[in-house]
Symmetry: D2
Subunit: 375 residues, 4 copies
């Protein structure tokens, strides 16, 4: 079990779905950053269940309490602990899952690895664990925005086979400069294009009626990222982003810039030509197939990544599976579930992007400051 | 700069393309493992330039020397240092690159981040750095094969728009059980399907004649992986694989199991139903859209990943770029380069898979042994 | 700020003296360990203020709440979060300290490093931070006791210039085999020798009356430690113990085995001769100047360390100091303080010993299991 | 086995006494630092055997070769690999040690932990491993001196029961401001006080004649250390120094400032009163019992530490021991050994101090730069 992430800006999450509470400790946030509880709560509200008819109708308030690390509204450089109570969960609703393995969930692998598991609501493998990530990400976002004007924005670019017209692989790159948070938050799908959003909505509601579920793609863009973030050769910025995104539950793929589509281009078409920029030492590129990262280091262009989410594993249709003793059985999920997690995944993907960038920004400052000093 | 990878099975690579040598230190390999220099050299030979007419015609011998960590043919638990001399490189061939930035290379970002760079042959960003990974990977492979019978195999499944008939996203999953190392090594493309391999060969040779380059996809499969590898919630096996693969030069995307194709499936079709296995406590799944990992932990099924490589950035056609002072200029690469890195990427992808699995295998052993002891 | 400790058995503490709460997250504890809240509370009770007339008379209940990581009384392998409320602290009592620096406290260095500080009760530098360590240490103790029969015991061996007759450097080593927890807990000094304990008590009460304070030495012994713990060359067991102990507030020195006294011996007298043990592959030594560690690895003998604590920095006598603006001023502490921290330091030293051993025990298991497998 | 040290300025050592070579990889050194091979060789010459009649008469040239990380005389931010060949060692001289355990060496614990060991010359446990530390420390020294004017100096303050008049615990603190490198290097003992040095020399030569050995204390001072280095609560500067020093072979104790002597003082005498300094925000202290570190953070005063070294374990007198099969036997060391390692330990202790300070200096820069930016 490894519940910590980051080298200098470091978070440690804790908590199971039906334990007393979930939460996070953020260690390494620089002192003197103004942090408001409401800014954190805002991000948690974007993540929480029950926020729209498209997502699960469980109503969880998810109010965050800050236990340490702030003094008179500012960070002190000490660890920031944040906790969200789980409330009175109806754990009995999960009794029928105690001794069987839900297909494409982590029930079997947790049982096999740990020999014991909290079966209620997925336990530690529940997406409730991401509450800690989103709370920590809100602080990372504030740091990056305050100190470097970095702006991170994610959106749903595909649900099942419905994509944004403007979206889809290469096209997302240009789209990434234009899109606004208002456009994303305009509707419950968090797809910024109204026509596509309407089609997605319809398809998601159909899936719910069918007892089925859908997957899709979240695209995330980071704008105004300083040149120089990333630590080759193993902590390259794109490598750390890949790890961060693939640690989110239900993800199956990651790409940056041209991604898999770029494998079908020729080098002459794919290379991003340099042209002079406003500053003589900061050239620009006329295309951005690199996705803002070259050689594992940010080049000042918009960072654009796409994250693949599989269809929700929990469905109400009947499925074949086995019991813990290896006997065949049949499962039909009860309760209220997300027919499509994509809308709620948006703030989680943003959180992970902010967390990776905050960590690398601190790492880069150490080196950058030195360089001039030694000249 | 972070040149170390792994928690318990840990490697640290060093060296620039045109420095004295490149190499690696492997720390944490368990004692008493029989290691033969020839096994390491074999993997380096699969990676080295000049091995076929499809890759760069630079002839580098890349002979490995082991400096420490072995005694009478076995590991002693102490760090294993391995070095490959760079030989007499013609560094003058790179003088024309000293003051300009090659498009879609790391020249600009290294200059901007470090304020100084070894421009000869890409310096630290050169793919020569992967020599250390491949040498370390050979030891990881030996460990996994000796102690757990794990078998890792990669192949070229796509070049430009030419894919294996049997390959391509979902199809690769079943293909992964059948393919043999002989099939992969039968030809210089390392594509196991003769018809596709022939088409790829022709296309690569055409790209060379055109002064252009091609990208593609390497698929990698790990067979006989024990159940239980992976450390949620941040060091999930798939997250660590994503980071490992995305730290390889020229990669733009990673997917596991159904990957991006899985986002277009419904949950009912995508979920992998459990059925009884030979052991009552080890059920099997009738499909493998999960790609061998559920909840970040291996489930005993074949692990199947796909890694996207962009077309080689170095091409001999003329390209627009800027100088270090921000002046527009024109570049045409000289020398002998790979029109397509895919065939040489195969042993590198295998190395990273072996390194991640070896590290997680050690991590899992710590826990596994305890569980029974405490009962 | 680095608030995490350990590689595989890893804790992260959080909280300031007068914030909402202090606590800890323990990550990496193996699953299936029976853990009782009372066992944790017992250790906290040994640490808490107000437990005797020798220590500070502040009455803090320090009741621990477990938020995650346990299911039906056993660990699940997931992070264990534990929180202790700070209660209603009278923060106004610290207003006079807001703008001056208490001598030999961390007020000045925190202000200089972070540019902002929570001055109430020492903030993060308060010994209240050690609550998290003691709670985590209780779990480490349980693990070591359950799985390996390891027994860790510390005691006060010196206060000011009053030492145990049987104690004092070399002598402690033999004493370490005989001493019992009952002897240590028999009186409020936690010195197991009644005559010395009485003298210490008298001296501490005199110091309190004088508005002064005293330092001393805690000796800690670990018995039944398996052979083979410790990871040379940098994570040697003695090196990690030194770091662990020197991270406790108010410590100024660490020694193991013969320590500084051993520097005055000759090699012939100091070397520990091997003699046959009960098992042919586990020899014993006739002396233990090594203190149970040779070459950074435990050798099966009792591990004996001594930790130096300076006299408490908070005293009620007047002292010269400066304000935050650099003006000379005079300080006299108010409130109830420990004239001697040694008795309360005992459970903290034990916690750090247990935490280091638990971490190294997990690390060793990874290697040990492999060795036999590869034969 | 953990052969890496440091978070941002990170070294990895490798090599056994009688393998092909020993060496080190330094990762994280900032770019643009002028580094000269001769500066590194100078430190290795201070460490090498045969440099005076007081130390072992083995004549090892220990010439360092730099394999990577420098370009045109400056660091590039990439890993710096350095190697020292072991030369043609007469390994046969160690055949009689193959199957027995030398008292107070690491022979038994390595055999027990790893199940296999390179018995020649101590293998990995040999002090030859410290060559890598000293080479890395030379780079850390250059960084600290160039960028922050930090000056680290160590000396032999005690051999057996012969101490510097000016030395010895508390006294060392004032002495630390005055001493010069010339004084230390004036004679082969590296004790800066001529009378004590002469007595030490005589005693060491007597021990050699007696077939015996001696221990002692190295004191190390760091001057001009910036305020603010150290990362509470676990990576406190003093805690990391303790770990660093206790990872050196043959060490048994560590103290900072008043150390163990301070435990016998009262709080009123021990506290370091603040007085105004030249800058209003940087007060001074009129005593330095803290040893330059308060609350785990440097306070600008001289850092003074003392490190206890046991008498050399290798002696030519006969000793009782056991064979690997547990049979009693007798050992008398052959060959040329150090009757007292103290003089050669001085550059090693300096290296570890420089390495810890360089790492913490980089860590502090990350935070410091941010603080002002956020105001």
């Amino acid at each position: 079990m490894t519940s910590s992430f980051g080298q200098l800006f470091r978070l440690t999450t804790f908590g199971e779905s039906h334990g007393v509470a979930v939460g996070v400790v953020v260690d390494g946030c620089p002192p003197n950053l103004a942090v408001d509880r409401d800014e954190i709560q805002l991000e948690l509200d974007r993540r929480r269940p029950g926020q729209s008819r498209l997502v699960t109708q469980r109503n969880e308030a998810d109010q965050v309490q800050i236990l340490s690390g702030l003094f008179e509204g500012r960070t002190t450089g000490t660890p920031i602990a944040m906790v969200v109570d789980n409330g009175d969960q109806n754990s009995g609703a999960y009794d029928h899952l105690k001794d069987l393995y839900r297909p494409s969930h982590a029930d079997y692998t947790y049982q096999a690895k740990y020999g014991v598991r909290d079966h209620r609501g997925g336990g530690r493998a529940s997406a409730r664990e991401t509450i800690g990530r989103v709370a920590a990400g809100a602080i990372a976002r504030k740091l990056l925005a305050s100190a470097a004007n970095v702006d991170v924005l994610a959106w749903v670019s595909q649900v099942a086979d419905i994509g944004c017209t403007a979206g889809g692989e290469i096209a997302d790159i240009d789209f990434a400069a234009e899109i606004t948070r208002q456009q994303v938050e305009a509707g419950p799908t968090r797809c910024p294009e109204p026509a596509a959003a309407a089609a997605m909505t319809e398809r998601i509601e159909q899936a719910r009626r069918d007892g089925d579920s859908l997957g899709g793609v979240v695209t995330v863009a980071a704008r105004n990222v300083p040149v120089g973030l990333g630590e080759p050769v193993f902590d390259k910025l794109d490598a750390d982003l890949a790890r961060a995104m693939m640690s989110i539950p239900a993800t199956k793929g990651f790409e940056i810039g041209s991604g898999f589509a770029g494998t079908r281009m020729s080098g002459l078409a794919h290379n991003d030509p340099f042209v002079p920029g406003d500053r003589s030492d900061q050239p620009l590129t006329t295309s951005n197939h690199s996705g803002g990262v070259q050689g594992g280091i940010s080049n000042g262009a918009i960072i654009v990544c796409r994250v693949a989410f599989k269809p929700t594993a929990t469905i109400s249709s009947e499925q074949k599976t086995v019991t813990r003793e290896g006997e065949p059985t049949v499962l039909a999920a009860k309760g209220r579930h997300d027919p499509c997690v994509l809308p709620r995944a948006v703030p989680i993907v943003e959180a992970m992007m902010n967390l990776v960038l905050a960590d690398h920004w601190l790492r880069q400052r150490a080196t950058a400051a030195l360089t001039s000093e030694l000249d």
